[in-house]
């Protein structure tokens, strides 16, 4: 869809006003402007939850996002207020993200939790028939230990861990979100990693002592 048209020069506020005035070409221009952002958010939701998806699913969710914005006489769009402290692009990104979340909640569990995620960075589960029972127990212990260690961190550190290691956000994005410098992102990561190492070492030490204690 070509965007070189009279609506290109409008600010977000003017474009919204034109959409609400039902100027014929305003809506297609408005949505085309944010279409790739919408797709990007939807893809990220699908990957995060390991949902199987194809281009058709993405198309459906992009259309559902558009429908969410226009339904009930543009109720959502009318409610957008730039003076609340956020941008139109962020607002549309969150609508797309919420739309994808809602769609996944409605899906049958087998569709959502299929292992066919296209995210190649996701951990590959070991095949149960080739995995030794002792290895499985060890991995389970390790996971429990790590969860217990993370629970001892401060909320801000836990959120940082989530951003850095689970969501794998770029340091620049974390810096912007948490109002810190990029250098601080790296130093904070090192500090938290060290904290975790100490907590885990203490846990292991405590377990060893417990195991060494003479039985009553």
């Amino acid at each position: 869809m070509a965007l070189r048209n009279a609506y290109d020069a409008l600010s977000d506020d003017e474009l919204i006003a034109a959409v609400l005035e039902r100027e014929p070409a305003a809506w297609p221009t408005f949505f085309a402007k944010y279409e790739r952002l919408v797709i990007s958010c939807i893809r990220k939701v699908m990957r995060r939850y390991g949902a199987a998806f194809n281009e058709e699913d993405i198309e459906d969710l992009v259309s559902a996002t558009a429908l969410n914005i226009v339904k009930d006489d543009y109720k959502k769009l009318r409610a957008f207020d730039a003076t609340r402290g956020y941008k139109l692009s962020s607002w549309i990104g969150l609508i797309a993200t919420n739309t994808a979340h809602d769609a996944l909640r409605r899906r049958a569990p087998t569709e959502v939790w299929a292992a066919a995620a296209l995210d190649d960075t996701a951990p590959v589960p070991l095949a149960s028939d080739t995995q030794l029972a002792s290895e499985a127990l060890e991995a389970e212990d390790e996971a429990r230990e790590l969860r217990a260690a993370i629970a001892q961190l401060s909320p801000a550190d836990r959120l940082f861990m989530d951003y850095y290691y689970v969501q794998e956000l770029e340091p620049e994005v974390i810096a912007r979100l948490m109002s810190i410098s990029v250098n601080t992102v790296y130093s904070r990561k090192n500090k938290i990693r060290e904290k975790l190492r100490i907590i885990v070492a203490k846990q292991q030490d405590g377990r060893t002592r417990k195991g060494d204690a003479p039985r009553a």
């Binding site: 070509a2 005035e21 951990p123 994005v173």
Partner: protein
């Protein structure tokens, strides 16, 4: 030496990432908790318009609301990647590309048909792109698109026209021509949600499917058993989100 240390750190980070992802509590999409941060709060956080106290308080809550934290991360990351805008149009080569190249999405509500998005603009909108209208427009009631398909005997033009009838149905007409003349021997198959529901030969290049309710349709245009082209028509009623 420094390189070795960096490599070790990178390996440690990679191992930590793999383990943390593996011990993520669950992949189930959680229902929003009662004390979940609001969308307004998440957006102000994403756009950095909170003061320090507010931000710290929200970060404490986000640590206990992984669903909200994930939504923040997704939007922030997508925004940071930037470069958004309209999708480049796919060239109509091959069946898959044709499918992607001819797709039109509408909303049908209270007898009003609204164009939501598509890979082509309705014909009536093209002049409006160049000149902004000065008066509020009446709800549009008729939409027309023209798609072109390469075919063995030369380019084929397919004109798709939609018009709402009654409160919750649409008439769809297809006109198939070649070099301005009706293309003979064409049959159009109508599929609804992937299943064939109707099929009709064209007469003087035209065929009409009447009173179609909101659903996802495909129009498959065939001549002598060969597929000429395909259009996806997604009409969303109020009940379809």
């Amino acid at each position: 030496m420094a390189d070795d240390e960096n490599t070790q750190r990178d390996e440690l980070d990679a191992a930590l990432t793999a383990r943390l992802r593996a011990v993520r509590p669950s992949l189930r999409v959680p229902e929003a908790a009662a004390d979940e941060p609001t969308d307004d709060e998440l957006l102000r956080y994403v756009d950095g318009s909170m003061d320090e106290r507010e931000r710290e308080a929200l970060e404490t809550r986000l640590a206990d609301h992984p669903n909200a934290a994930a939504r923040v991360a997704i939007v922030a990351e997508a925004l940071a990647e930037g470069g958004w805008g309209p999708l480049p149009k796919a060239d109509p080569v091959g069946r898959r590309a044709v499918n992607l190249a001819s797709r039109f999405v509408f909303r049908l509500s209270d007898g009003v048909l609204s164009f939501l998005r598509g890979t082509d603009l309705p014909r009536g909108l093209e002049p409006a792109m160049a000149v902004r209208s000065s008066a509020p427009a009446q709800p549009q009631s008729f939409f027309e698109f023209v798609s072109q398909y390469p075919f063995e005997s030369g380019q084929v033009d397919a004109r798709l026209a939609l018009e709402p009838v009654a409160q919750a149905a649409v008439d769809v007409q297809l006109e198939v021509t070649q070099a301005g003349a009706p293309l003979e021997g064409v049959r159009v198959k109508l599929l609804r949600d992937g299943r064939p529901v109707d099929s009709a030969p064209t007469e003087k290049g035209r065929c009409t499917f009447s009173a179609l309710p909101a659903a996802r349709y495909e129009l498959e245009i065939r001549k002598g058993g060969t597929e000429v082209g395909r259009m996806v028509l997604d009409i969303r009623g109020d009940g379809i989100a």
